[in-house]
């Protein structure tokens, strides 16, 4: 077997010797064949991201060896490791990690400059990559002018910059809607099948595994199972892994419990595990008819600190209708999966991005990166119900130095009002008017 990566007896501890010690990788022994498409699959905290860091030489492991093409990377100096990271592997990040102050072309050219390629040559090569990823028309734009899906394509182009033989994708679909997620999977498959690159994916979502050929199941830092997906019947493999993921390893989980978990994971993409877990419990209670539809809606709308999930009103309504339709049609788990694969429901990050664009649409001034970040943070806090509308205006008005958005008092007030309209919270005066506004703002949001 021609292995490109051979991992032997690897142990990695964080905070070794302290009371907070974590044994993140526990005696890992695996081989990855050249040209394979593998996934490390498991729940949050199972060690899969540490695995990625160890392979890419970001985290040093205390015991064992990781050989790339027969050469142990633990023997490399820091400079050699830095070079290996530039030429040997390309990483596609969940959060895209683009440099906000560089345009798209320069973002993709950057890794080439690091290894001494001239900027003329680097930009020619970067342009070829943008053409390949169908984003050449955005070459002069800046990352914050692009949608999440477009940014992720830039992320892939950048990962390919120095033509590395290994591509590592860290939860690459986490912040994408389903259409963009399908696109990313298509590109990854192409990089594997057409270019012959070795792809390593780290994921906790079964639907990311569609094209994967080898699956390493992980739990508590241990590789619990290595599965060759010989059967290229993708649907079958998918539902099998979905079942495994949703049943949490036990065979006793009911179909309803699994549907609840599937819906929770999908509808709340980008939310924290705590929020997803609480949502899953509520969906389960609704499935078993322990709570009414109205109670369910109220609970998911309530802020997290008050025992809710912190979905804002419009989202609570959409999600409730969703859950109700699943209950009415008594869908089985495969049908549920089919529905959500086509669902237009956006992950939280994308949603905030769209909302921010819409609420500052009429703002005449130019916003800096810091201001944009501050505004998006305020939106997120407001959506989750952890602050009220008054606080929104206050933070928008606060100076950037004090972690506010630095807007004038008047602009802060107008923008926070627009946010409230979007959230569909009742504004005491003129209720009819508000409702009309809400509908039109919903439409504007869809258009974005």
């Amino acid at each position: 077997m021609d292995s490109i990566i051979k991992i032997e007896n690897v142990n990695l501890w964080y905070e070794k010797g302290k009371s907070t010690e974590v044994h993140a990788l526990n005696n890992v022994n695996i081989e990855i064949t050249r040209g394979d498409y593998v996934a490390f699959f498991g729940p949050s905290g199972c060690g899969k991201t540490t695995m990625l860091y160890a392979i890419s030489g970001i985290d040093r492991f205390q015991e064992g060896s990781i050989a790339i093409n027969g050469h142990d990377i633990s023997t490399l100096t820091n400079q050699e490791l830095a070079m290996f990271r530039q030429t040997g592997i390309g990483i596609v990040f969940q959060q895209f990690n683009l440099v906000p102050s560089l345009n798209i072309l320069k973002n993709v050219a950057l890794p080439m400059l690091f290894v001494g390629i001239t900027s003329e040559k680097a930009e020619i090569e970067a342009m070829k990559l943008l053409v390949r990823l169908n984003i050449a028309e955005y070459a002069d734009r800046y990352p914050n002018e692009l949608s999440g899906g477009q940014q992720q394509r830039v992320g892939i182009a950048r990962a390919l910059a120095n033509d590395p033989p290994i591509i590592i994708a860290d939860e690459p679909l986490g912040n994408l809607d389903s259409a963009n997620a399908q696109n990313v999977l298509k590109f990854l498959r192409e990089l594997n099948e057409k270019d012959g690159r070795t792809i390593i994916m780290v994921t906790h979502e079964a639907w990311s595994l569609r094209d994967v050929k080898t699956i390493f199941h992980m739990k508590d830092g241990v590789i619990t199972d290595e599965e060759r997906v010989e059967n290229k019947n993708v649907a079958e493999s998918l539902s099998k892994n979905l079942y495994k993921q949703l049943s949490g390893g036990s065979d006793h989980a009911t179909e309803e419990k699994m549907s609840a978990r599937l819906l929770a994971n999908f509808l709340l993409r980008g939310y924290s595990m705590d929020e997803i877990n609480r949502f899953e419990i509520l969906v389960g209670e609704r499935f078993e008819n322990k709570i009414t539809k109205a109670e369910f809606k109220v609970k998911i709308n309530r802020p997290f600190k008050d025992g809710g999930v912190g979905l804002w009103k419009k989202k609570s309504e959409r999600v409730t209708e969703y859950i109700e339709s699943v209950i009415e049609r008594r869908e089985d788990i495969h049908h549920v999966h089919n529905i959500i694969e086509k669902s237009p429901e956006l992950p939280i990050k994308e949603e905030i991005h769209h909302i921010r664009k819409w609420i500052v649409e009429d703002y005449a001034g130019k916003l800096s990166d810091m201001q944009v970040i501050a505004i998006e943070e305020v939106i997120a806090d407001r959506l989750k119900g952890s602050i009220d509308s008054g606080k929104v205006a206050e933070v928008l008005n606060l100076s950037v130095k004090k972690f506010g958005a630095g807007l004038s008092f008047r602009a802060a007030k107008l923008i926070s009002e627009k946010l409230e309209i979007l959230l569909g919270e009742e504004v005491p005066e003129a209720e009819e008017e508000t409702k009309k506004d809400t509908d039109s703002s919903e439409n504007s949001l869809k258009k974005l």
Binding site: I68, E80, M83, G116, T118, K121, P164
Partner: protein, 154 residues
């Protein structure tokens, strides 16, 4: 050794020996790195010298490179260290290799940031096998250039 070679002729086919001469730390790491990450360590043995004095010593001691990659701006440890002197030393080194009968098969490739056409011409006059400008080739282009050098196809 011989019996072993006959038993596994493909796996242990003779590796191409490359002598890489450069005083830039990053370039030294980069050059070795790209052959390694692209899985070419089976085909190439790369040794590195940081000066022409060091390279000459290696050759005297029996190093027998099939290919020499060399910068023409390598800094000099003794005497004047001006750009002109450095190029003079590089030309002198090329002549020495060309006159060394035991190295008649050795290919010489200039790999330098020096883009001056007149200087390139001077080296071509001495019968070098290639002149590559640093930063104008992607990693894989360097590898395929090396693979394609006459008689070195693997």
């Amino acid at each position: 050794m011989h019996t072993f070679t006959r038993e596994r002729p493909i796996k242990l086919a003779k590796k191409t020996k490359i002598l890489f001469i450069d005083d830039d730390e990053m370039m030294k790491i980069y050059f070795r790195d790209i052959f390694w990450v692209h899985g070419r360590s089976d085909a190439y043995d790369i040794v590195i010298a940081s000066s022409f004095d060091e390279a000459e010593k290696m050759i005297e001691e029996g190093a027998h490179p099939d290919v020499i990659y060399m910068d023409v701006m390598v800094s000099l440890k003794t005497g004047k260290n001006s750009p002109d002197e450095r190029i003079k030393r590089s030309l002198e080194f090329v002549k020495k290799i060309k006159h060394n009968k035991s190295l008649h098969h050795t290919k010489i490739i200039i790999f330098s940031g020096q883009k001056e056409k007149l200087i390139e011409y001077e080296f071509h006059e001495l019968g070098i096998d290639g002149y590559l400008v640093k930063g104008e080739l992607m990693p894989k282009e360097i590898i395929s250039f090396t693979d394609n050098l006459n008689g070195l196809n693997h």
